[in-house]
């Protein structure tokens, strides 16, 4: 640029070439991304109705139709539905929303546009973590509210049960979020994103004891469900919210906390590898 070239546009004058030192800090970018992500979620009618609202609606439907029956001594079917739906809600706002949302962002060019800016990829994923945490906690709080108001769901009374709730929540949402990011690479258009992500999610909810009590599911379906995180998340949540004697309803007749943590940890590790291998900032073509 020559000395005569003037800054005719208003604003701060052009400075020397910026070095990495003047880059916005990662935490700032992550906060900015998180804010945008959460705002987008709660303004998106599809996300609010279908991702956020549907689990509560289904809980009211299933709970009102079947909830009065007794599943075991001192355990109502309504309580089973409420605790299982909390696991389904976690998967909805993590797996389903990320799967559909990132596929859409990839196909409409949002990801490519962000890749063209100096934003580091870590800020993008940190923003997704913020979004999943905020939306999934709100979702869980809503389901706990509906469950305690209408279906005799009992909030954990001991620190031990809250601790179980915390680790099942964190490991479960992390595993589902990573699966969602990986699955977002499957749809090839915005229009196909919803069916491709929602179909396996719906099947998984049926066989994992969310829509139908797990003890009513045929054995081979139980075995299939045991390969995926949702069955273990639902079982973990039942151990948090149901009376101790409800464990007799489980196939193993105990809560299997160790196995639950192990399966979720394996899915987190596998999901992480899958995400690193498959994540693309641009669509094919």
């Amino acid at each position: 640029m020559t000395a005569q070239a003037q800054t005719i546009l208003p604003g701060r004058p052009r400075q020397a070439i910026p070095g990495p030192a003047s880059m916005p800090a990662l935490w700032r970018l992550a906060a900015a991304r998180g804010g945008i992500e959460v705002k987008t979620f709660f303004r998106d009618k599809m996300a609010v109705a279908f991702i956020f609202g549907l689990p509560s609606i289904l809980l009211v439907l299933f709970g009102s139709i079947f909830g009065g029956q007794a599943a075991a001594r001192g355990v109502s079917v309504g309580q089973l539905y409420a605790s299982g739906m909390i696991a389904g809600g976690i998967m909805s706002t993590s797996f389903q929303y990320l799967g559909i949302g990132i596929a859409t962002e990839r196909e409409n060019g949002t990801l490519k546009r962000l890749a063209g800016t100096p934003m580091p990829p870590a800020a993008y994923f940190a923003g997704k973590v913020v979004q999943v945490m905020v939306c999934t906690l709100s979702e869980t709080a809503l389901l706990m509210l509906v469950g305690t108001l209408f279906y005799h769901l009992q909030l954990p009374a001991s620190p031990g049960r809250w601790w179980t709730f915390a680790w099942v929540f964190v490991l479960g949402s992390a595993a589902c979020a990573l699966m969602g990011i990986a699955a977002s690479s499957l749809p090839r258009s915005v229009a196909s994103a919803t069916p491709i992500i929602t179909l396996p999610f719906t099947v998984l909810q049926f066989i994992s004891g969310i829509y139908v009590p797990f003890s009513n599911i045929p054995g081979w379906m139980q075995d299939l469900a045991s390969l995926f995180p949702l069955k273990w998340m639902a079982q973990g949540m039942r151990s948090v919210f149901l009376p101790g004697q409800a464990a007799t309803l489980e196939p193993a007749h105990v809560w299997e906390h160790g196995r639950t943590a192990l399966v979720l940890a394996v899915w987190i590790a596998a999901g992480l590898v899958l995400c690193v291998k498959t994540f693309r900032w641009q669509n094919r073509g």
């Binding site: 003047s22 916005p24 900015a32 409409n108 546009r113 063209g116 800016t117 934003m119 641009q282």
Partner: protein
């Protein structure tokens, strides 16, 4: 590092399977220049620009963009370039202001977001949801997002598609202002009048090669090309090179002399006289037709 050169391209090549998209091209873009890349769809234009933008890897050749290899984009390098992609509107749930502010936050020394919105003429829509913008307004938002980081080098891909004539003129003024501010601009467009109005230099790419490069006035030997003199052929015609629908047209490198002769022949006004040189569009169509035949 050549501080006067913004973009340097030597023997750039890119293949997709058996298809050669870019077949050994060379060009330089000087700092502060507006450089237009023209070419039919599938000529290698987008591939070339995407390699310069750091979105695609090349198969061969040397490329430097602001002194850096775009094959290895760094954050510091990305902070110095702006990219206006040819995309549908994104983030329909956010407002114009939220989106531009967010993009401003990603850059180390960005422009005031409200100023960027004003520059593209969207101040009245700043608080509107992006999903409710018209096509032309969404394009202008794209441009605001591209310039809010105060780039030294700005890539514009078909920037005025969907603009009404007034919005285009307004946009051209914005590009001229950015150029005066020292921004180097790489423009791809299908509108030849746009290239002619804005570009300091034009390169025409066809079938993966650059078939002509130069300033808009002399591209493809345009300024030296024969003039076309045409008149209504009533009365004595002198060189009837081509007669069509009652008009005679002659291509000549000495149009002034021809007109003097005609004036004598007609003894006064020459009926229906026109003198034209090939437009940029004529030159462009001829160049690309030759390259693809």
């Amino acid at each position: 590092m050549g501080s006067e050169t913004a973009v340097m391209v030597r023997d750039l090549g890119k293949r997709y399977g058996d298809v050669t998209a870019v077949d050994g091209i060379d060009f330089d873009i000087g700092r502060g220049e507006v450089f237009a890349l023209l070419g039919p769809n599938g000529a290698g234009k987008t591939t070339t620009v995407e390699i310069l933008e750091g979105f695609r890897h090349r198969d061969r050749g040397t490329v430097a963009v602001l002194g850096h290899d775009p094959g290895h984009p760094s954050r510091a390098w990305r902070a110095r370039i702006g990219i206006v992609l040819q995309l549908a509107s994104v983030g329909p749930e956010l407002t114009v202001q939220e989106m531009v502010r967010h993009f401003a936050a990603l850059y180390p020394q960005s422009r005031d977001p409200d100023e960027a919105i004003e520059l593209v003429g969207l101040t009245g829509k700043a608080r509107s949801r992006i999903g409710g913008l018209s096509g032309g307004q969404a394009r202008r938002l794209d441009v605001a997002m591209g310039i809010v980081g105060r780039p030294e080098l700005l890539f514009l891909d078909e920037p005025t598609t969907g603009f009404d004539p007034e919005a285009r003129r307004h946009f051209w003024d914005l590009i001229r202002d950015l150029r005066t501010d020292g921004t180097t601009i790489v423009l791809t467009t299908h509108y030849l009048d746009e290239a002619e109005a804005l570009a300091d230099r034009i390169a025409v790419i066809a079938a993966g090669r650059i078939v002509a490069a130069g300033d808009p006035g002399s591209l493809g030997g345009r300024s030296a090309a024969a003039a076309r003199v045409s008149w209504t052929a009533t009365g004595p015609a002198i060189r009837t090179a081509g007669e069509k629908q009652g008009r005679t047209t002659v291509e000549t490198t000495t149009p002034t002399q021809l007109i003097a002769e005609l004036r004598q022949q007609f003894d006064g006004e020459i009926p229906g006289l026109t003198v034209t040189r090939p437009t940029l569009e004529d030159t462009y169509l001829e160049l690309t037709a030759k390259a693809t035949s």
